[in-house]
Symmetry: C2
Subunit: 220 residues, 2 copies
């Protein structure tokens, strides 16, 4: 068990180092050598977990979609808002999220399959919006697939603009603006009135998630 | 005059070649040698117009903002919709627009100033929305600057997603979805009801603009 824990920690260490190299250099210019240096692990340890630079990049891209689990809310659309705000907050500091964001939007000369990140996020948003619709929170006019794709595309561009102009320090506010402009076309009025779109919410929720994770980790 | 015309044509030829190289390779991997080859001009001709690769990239980024002039409409917000649809259509085929799009969203390792493209587009959209507000077309709740920034960011991401998933063939439809989700929070109802959001509009408008430009060019 202890050995397995150590393997999980090493894998995470390598992933975070790789993500930070991808964030700084992009896929094409990233090297395994720099990942090894930042992670402080041996070549053998890295290749035990990841077969290639491409495998590292795909693992980073997979990780960032799975990585966000917010507290369940009475209103499903609030959970949707919360995911976007936690993600925005993490894009300021979390290496996995930052590296994945660059990989996902980079129009590279290589053959890295960037579709999967966009498709995974779209499926995730579709799932949340579909559940919100089943609970009667969504206007009948909404076509879930179209709305999900709109959100994924718009979010990708907004985080990129915020990154270019303000190193993402204003991303939470920009995401609130996106919600303010779109949720009135998505949520039924009674739900819309109850949604908390406060841009500060991301930081507080992220702290709560991390506190919860710490408690879990130390539980017997 | 003839010589000046030729210089303008040569400059355009070089710009289009450079944009197509930037589109294919990105800024870092683009070379002057490949631009010369695609443009079929001499090194002397290129350096007469552009001092460096950076100057070429900045010219491409400037050109794509200035390049779209749609027919004036009785409703200003219709002009705004029209610009986004013509731009979407051109992103499928126009080398300047394609090259500029990649340069603008690329998170490069170089020092190319990508802010100016985003700032120019934001100012452009702010100008159009401000005029629409002065004509009474915009809801009082709208903060023009925020809405303009939202549109520029969202559009950047949507074109990127469309490029990744469908080589931009569905971009006009995706932009219509963006309008459908946001214009109800921007336009007063009487205006909203009159807006034509048809995704096919981009192609028709672009053809009309080009036909008009041809007539102008052959006028005495």
């Amino acid at each position: 068990m202890v050995q397995q824990d150590r393997a999980i920690r090493t894998r995470r260490l390598i992933l975070e180092a790789a993500a930070s190299v991808f964030d700084d250099r992009g896929y094409d210019r990233a090297t395994i050598a720099e990942v090894l240096e930042r992670a402080g692990v041996t070549k053998g340890a890295l290749y035990f977990h990841f077969a290639s630079k491409e495998a590292l990049a795909l693992a980073v891209l997979d990780e960032h979609v799975l990585d966000i689990a917010v507290e369940p809310q009475p209103i499903k659309l609030q959970e949707f808002v919360d995911v976007t705000q936690v993600l925005s907050h993490r894009l300021c500091s979390d290496p996995i999220q930052r590296g994945a964001a660059r990989l996902a939007v980079e129009q590279g000369s290589n053959h890295l399959d960037r579709k999967r990140s966009m498709i995974s996020w779209t499926q995730f948003v579709e799932g949340v919006l579909g559940e919100a619709r089943d609970r009667g929170e969504v206007l009948k006019s909404v076509v879930i697939r179209e709305t999900a794709e709109l959100y994924v595309g718009a979010f990708a561009g907004i985080q990129l603009m915020s990154q270019t102009l303000a190193n993402r320090t204003d991303l939470n506010r920009r995401v609130t603006v996106l919600h303010q402009h779109t949720l009135p076309c998505i949520a039924v009025p009674a739900i819309l009135a109850k949604l908390d779109l406060d841009p500060e919410r991301g930081e507080a929720l992220d702290a709560a998630i991390k506190a919860g994770a710490l408690v879990d980790a130390t539980a017997p």
